[in-house]
């Protein structure tokens, strides 16, 4: 046992040296999380606000002004121009100056005053699906509220209220940070792991290794150790940056976070190693690893596209994507403060994938040449 431990540590130590010597792998491991976090945090925001809004106010009464100002005040819309008539909406959309047009017909204020139903229209540019959907959702409550007689005298925020628990500001950063952790670990772990064994085959050093007393399991475990460590550094990096830059909280137990992160890392490393062992060529291994680990995690984990909206067969497919369970765990721990009592199922699923992929890697690893 002690001998096996020595040999495993020799492999691990050598692997650490490989990682340190190859500046690219360090950049990728530590630079990529920062870049992705910036990109998703500042660049690609799923929050749709500051929608350019044109207002065609043909009524010009205090009531109509209250309506248009109400929309702008919520910061979802920015008033870019005033149109003389609702007929100009088409031109505003075509030119791209506005994504939404608020058309208030003459008589709007008068009807409101009389307690009659008053109709104002919000037109949105449907060619930009995401913006349109969100603009309609944001505005619906407001327009409806202000166009009913009762609301005319009340404040705009009255009416049926929706409150998002755990993320009251509906900040996409909250979802994004957990998503980025999942993506980063999936990508870097499977990528680096897929390179490592194929590289030994390509260089011929695998043959040399096989001539030593080092066993298959020792090679796999020895290679896992440094990459798991690297994965922890990445996770901590993203969590720290997430909490400083985007105020993402960590409400749950760090132990649950640690356990689930380890299991997910092992599952991704196992996938990469299995790809590396089966392919024996770095190029093929990398592509294979991306295809079976990163892509499904990006598409089917629920980070970018909600699983509930997928057709049944894709929902079924997402069951075998480890990222799905890790994302649930992360969101649960970070935002809801959930512990193992709630997340046990997801953590078990992660454990299953970790064991399965690593077992596959060791099983397919032939110690003899062919």
């Amino acid at each position: 046992m002690n001998r096996a431990f020595r040999r495993t540590m020799a492999i691990a130590h050598k692997e650490v040296l490989h990682i340190i010597r190859d500046a690219r792998s360090v950049y990728m491991a530590l630079g990529l999380p920062v870049v992705m976090l910036m990109l998703f945090g500042y660049g690609i925001s799923q929050d749709v606000d500051h929608i350019p809004l044109s207002v065609a106010d043909e009524d010009r009464t205090p009531a109509s002004r209250r309506l248009s100002e109400g929309l702008v005040a919520a910061a979802d819309f920015v008033r870019v121009e005033d149109l003389p008539s609702a007929d100009d909406a088409e031109a505003a959309f075509r030119s791209g100056r506005a994504k939404a047009v608020l058309a208030i017909p003459r008589g709007y204020g008068r009807d409101l005053g009389r307690g009659l139903p008053a109709v104002a229209q919000l037109l949105v540019d449907g060619s930009d699906g995401t913006t349109a959907t969100i603009a309609m959702g944001d505005a619906a409550g407001l327009v409806q509220a202000t166009s009913s007689g009762r609301a005319a005298r009340a404040s705009l925020t009255e009416g049926p209220r929706v409150r998002a628990r755990f993320n009251p500001g509906m900040r996409s950063a909250y979802n994004m940070v957990s998503g980025v952790i999942v993506l980063i670990l999936a990508m870097v772990a499977s990528l680096l792991a897929s390179l490592t064994i194929a590289r030994e085959w390509e260089r011929g050093s695998m043959e040399q290794l096989f001539a030593t007393p080092v066993s298959r399991v020792e090679i796999v475990v020895g290679k896992l150790i440094p990459y798991t460590g690297l994965g922890f550094v990445q996770t901590l990096l993203v969590l720290t940056l997430g909490s400083y830059m985007f105020d993402v909280p960590i409400r749950g137990s760090p132990v649950t976070l640690f356990v689930s992160s380890t299991l997910f890392l092992l599952a991704m490393l196992g996938t990469g190693l299995a790809a590396s062992i089966i392919a024996k060529s770095q190029l093929v291994a990398v592509q294979f690893a991306m295809l079976v680990s990163y892509m499904p995690v990006a598409m089917l984990s629920g980070f970018m596209f909600p699983i509930e909206n997928m057709p049944a067969w894709l929902r079924g497919l997402s069951m075998v994507v480890p990222g799905r369970y890790y994302l649930t765990t992360l969101r649960g721990v970070l935002l809801k403060g959930n512990g193992l009592d709630v997340l046990a199922g997801d953590v078990l699923a992660l454990a299953f994938f970790a064991v399965a992929t690593l077992a596959l890697a060791v099983w397919r690893f032939r110690r003899r040449l062919s």
């Binding site: 020799a10 492999i11 050598k14 040296l17 043959e207 040399q208 001539a211 030593t212 007393p213």
Partner: protein
């Protein structure tokens, strides 16, 4: 060299599908012996060495290395052998001492025992001053020496060297063989493959591999004596085709181009150099000079393969690895 047997091979066969890479090979190597395995690329040298190291399964036959049945207990032999594969396979992004440390660790050498052994090996292979150098920055000759250092760190009984000097300059090759000899004198058994005929002269015994078969096996001297009997002459400024025409008359056994000259062998009791020159001239064959020549292993090799092709020029096989 003692009478103790380090490597015992009996009826060894290896087939890859329909291709027979090694066919019915048997031999024994004694402790402290340098055993050379000579043959063209693809003759089955690397395949044999890999089977002896337990890296490749055996189709049939028995292999015993350092008293271990390699066919059934490949893992049990690892501590007893050192292996230097044909492809240079150290880690180029590690320094000399890091490579040594890794291979030490792979053989469970660490701490004081490792350092003592490392220093001894580095000293004997004259690598002392290079410990901090990146392996990738070393010339081929030094890399080869480092690979040898990594292979003997754990003091194996038998060291298997697969084409250890391929791509190394002549000076470094000679140096390398001096180290090999010293290792053997200290009691380590050396099994080495090569396709350099001149290198085979350094070996205690040489096995000649031709198309998967062990065609001949003996000391270099005995091989020359038995396989290339008669006398060998070197002809300067003669045309091979013309000389060959006289072969029957003059009892010439072999006519082979050798560099810019011709190597002509006559049967036992044939003419001496002066007579041969006179006889050739009288038959209208121009020859500038005839002198006695040393029989080389290259002549032996050419005899054995029937003078078909020179070993270096045989094309890469249908891959025996």
């Amino acid at each position: 060299m003692s009478d103790e047997v380090s490597v015992r091979v009996k009826g060894l066969n290896k087939r890859f599908g329909a291709f027979v890479a090694v066919s019915d090979v048997s031999f024994e190597v004694k402790k402290g012996e340098i055993f050379g395995y000579l043959g063209a690329n693809g003759a089955g040298k690397s395949t044999t060495i890999r089977m002896l190291c337990g890296l490749l399964s055996v189709t049939s036959g028995d292999v015993e290395v350092a008293g271990v049945d390699v066919v059934h207990r490949a893992n049990a032999v690892r501590h007893a052998i050192g292996y230097m594969s044909q492809k240079f396979s150290l880690y180029l992004d590690l320094t000399v001492s890091e490579n040594l440390e890794f291979f030490g660790g792979a053989y469970e050498l660490f701490g004081r025992a490792f350092r003592k052994r490392r220093d001894a090996v580095m000293h004997s292979l004259a690598l002392d001053k290079l410990s901090g150098e990146l392996t990738g920055s070393l010339p081929a000759g030094l890399r080869q020496r480092l690979a040898l250092a990594c292979a003997i760190l754990h003091e194996p009984h038998v060291v298997f060297l697969d084409e250890p000097t391929a791509g190394v300059d002549p000076g470094a090759r000679r140096n390398f063989w001096r180290l090999i000899r010293r290792l053997a004198d200290d009691g380590t058994t050396i099994f080495v493959t090569t396709h350099y005929m001149d290198e085979a002269e350094y070996c205690d015994r040489v096995g000649l591999m031709v198309a998967g078969r062990l065609a001949a096996l003996d000391t270099p001297e005995a091989l020359k004596r038995t396989l290339v009997p008669g006398r060998m002459y070197e002809l300067l400024g003669a045309d091979a085709a013309e000389v060959k025409k006289t072969a029957k008359d003059l009892a010439l056994v072999g006519v082979e181009p050798f560099g810019a000259t011709l190597h002509v062998r006559v049967a036992e009791g044939g003419p001496d150099a002066a007579t041969l020159k006179r006889e050739l001239s009288s038959r209208g064959v121009h020859v500038a000079n005839v002198s006695d020549a040393e029989v080389t292993l290259e002549d032996v090799f050419l005899c054995v393969v029937g003078g078909a092709e020179k070993p270096n020029k045989v094309p890469e096989e249908a891959k025996a690895s």
